[in-house]
Symmetry: C2
Subunit: 373 residues, 2 copies
């Protein structure tokens, strides 16, 4: 294993040591006490129980406020740089669980400006991609009455004044330390973090009073919100709370599913045939020959197929344990597991793709400030 | 004379050597050939003849285009950090002359975001100040059919996508070199120059084709537009042309009238009494005693009162020469000159203040994209 790893909002490389990352970032583990507290509001989500959402900042404050009758605002987002894949959907599914459990309103920010600034894409392209990504988000069933989609370039009139307030409080020195910027960083990239802070304060601005905010997101986004939290008190806003997840693994065995490796990435618009092919090529914990595997068993802990079940496709803990057990004992072969996962993914995608079509009917009613795409 | 001077969009200190500044910035002198060419379009403005508007970038290209029937867009602006003083009005008067002479449309940008970022002011304060400053601008008689006032935070939806395109092309390294930024510069200050570039490309964006742009402004603003011009070709926009003026002097004898020295600054809203008091205290080129001055004469070249006539209040070259001559010969004393200037300023301000009141009736019809203050 490579002990070097790097996690920023724009780059995830190496084998991530999530405990070390938590320590570096200064977030807190989701411990047994917090899980117990969460269980009071309903069945705890598997992603919490399995340590996928594993770290947080001030989650207790959000629950304290909620218990006092102060409903929080949920905020997450997406950088629309390409088609939605399962890795993007994972934290959204968790957000959906939070919304349902606590019956709270939500902002979903699409940073078309960010992806224009960081990628070789036009604003037209990032905006179109935002539309496509938003369909996937909506398809997960967020409450259309309580969920507003923010598109940065379309909602800039509301976001910019807040971004300016953040910008005035953050020096280049801080941005360098937090994001690793240097002299070659462009002016938009340097400014951008303020735009990601803005929705965290938007609910307070709109309500004219402090509104608690909870941000469920990938741990790679924590640097942005560290800045957000640092400036909040000086601007008279509450510090947003965070709950952070690990990166969704790639089918190749990589720590993070990435659009740059298309064959190891399942997109929400993939055909059943494409899914079959991709899962068929997945990295597993199996042996080279059937005989060896029957004799020695496989290693689910390094198997991408097992991880997919663990992260998303097998919600039943008992069945998951059974799967691992059978693998270790050589009772089940990789081919069977792949076939089984393919079926699960295709069943999910078939339903999702239908809901994704339906989303086109409601997307216009779910935009913040009623912007038109 | 102090040989050290500094001119940036946010700081002007020391005794400015305008020839050296022109050389440093890389702008071109307005030479006899250009003055002759300008005279074909009408009586050349005194600020050109007297070398107040003294430097330019690609002014000939603007005239070439105009001669071909390609009307240019005029663009200038104001950072609304305080009440309007005569130093702000000077380049606006020149802009008015350009608009009248060439019958061209105009953008007037008010950078309320900039002043929020660079000064200890709230956005509410800079926006209110923008309104006050705009009244002075309108009072100068710009064509209400052809002149649109941009307020950055109100027109951000149109400006931001252009600013992003600029931002993607400019590195922190460039911003450091051009503006002298360092690690303590805040993220908004770093991004801001892109917002000042945006109106230079706005007419092309709105028209869907390249529109030539002329920017008459103080030479201290040239660094912004150097960046604008550098990125223009890569974005498919024409490089804006510039015509730059020297700083309007302070009554204290300083090279630049500054709001930080209120007693040496004439505001457009000053009462006749206040003007009399301020001009009365002006730095002159006179001698200590009447006897000495009668005998040795004064020095109009260092006299703030003379400069006020030169820059703005005595348009007749013959009368100006006479004034200098009489001063040098000891025929006229500082008190007389001050009284005479006070009268000129108060006559101007009385009329201006009436027009400023009238401006309140039309200001809403002159906003870009019909924003409401």
């Amino acid at each position: 294993m490579d002990s070097e790893f790097k996690v920023t909002p724009w780059e995830v490389t190496g084998d991530i040591d999530y405990d070390l990352l938590q320590e570096k970032f200064g977030t807190s583990p989701i411990d047994a006490a917090l899980v117990a507290r969460l269980s009071k509001y309903g069945e705890v989500h598997p992603m919490i129980k399995r340590g996928i959402f594993y770290s947080h900042r001030d989650m207790n404050i959000i629950l304290d406020e909620y218990d006092k009758g102060n409903r929080f605002m949920l905020y997450t987002g997406r950088g629309p740089s390409g088609n939605t894949h399962l890795g993007h959907m994972m934290p959204w599914m968790f957000n959906k669980w939070i919304q349902d459990t606590f019956d709270v309103p939500m902002y979903f920010q699409m940073t078309d400006d960010e992806k224009f600034l960081f990628k070789d894409m036009t604003l037209h392209e990032t905006r179109n991609m935002a539309y496509e990504n938003a369909l996937d988000f909506i398809a997960l069933g967020f409450n259309p009455e309580k969920t507003k989609i923010i598109l940065n370039t379309k909602n800039i009139d509301k976001l910019y004044p807040i971004a300016l307030k953040v910008a005035k409080k953050v020096t280049f020195s801080t941005a360098k330390a937090v994001f690793g910027f240097d002299n070659s960083t462009n002016l938009g990239q340097i400014f951008f973090t303020t735009m990601q802070s803005a929705p965290a304060f938007l609910a307070s601005e709109e309500a004219g009073k402090p509104v608690p905010v909870l941000i469920p997101c990938g741990i790679d986004q924590d640097p942005h919100f560290r800045v957000t939290r640092d400036v909040a008190p000086g601007l008279g806003y509450p510090k947003p709370s965070l709950v952070c997840c690990k990166m969704f693994p790639g089918l190749s065995g990589a720590d993070k599913m990435s659009s740059s490796d298309e064959n190891a990435t399942i997109y929400t618009t993939d055909s059943p045939k494409a899914v079959k092919k991709k899962v068929g090529r997945a990295f597993t914990g199996g042996c080279v020959t059937v005989e060896e595997q029957r004799a020695n068993g496989g290693k689910p802990e390094i198997c991408a197929v097992f991880k997919y079940n663990y992260y998303m496709f097998e919600k039943d803990d008992r069945k998951l344990d059974e799967m691992a057990e059978k693998c270790r004992n050589g009772e089940i072969l990789c081919g069977e597991c792949k076939m089984c996962l393919t079926e699960k993914i295709n069943t999910f995608l078939e339903e999702h793709q239908a809901k994704r079509e339906d989303a086109k009917e409601v997307i216009d009613s779910m935009t913040f400030d009623d912007f038109k795409w």
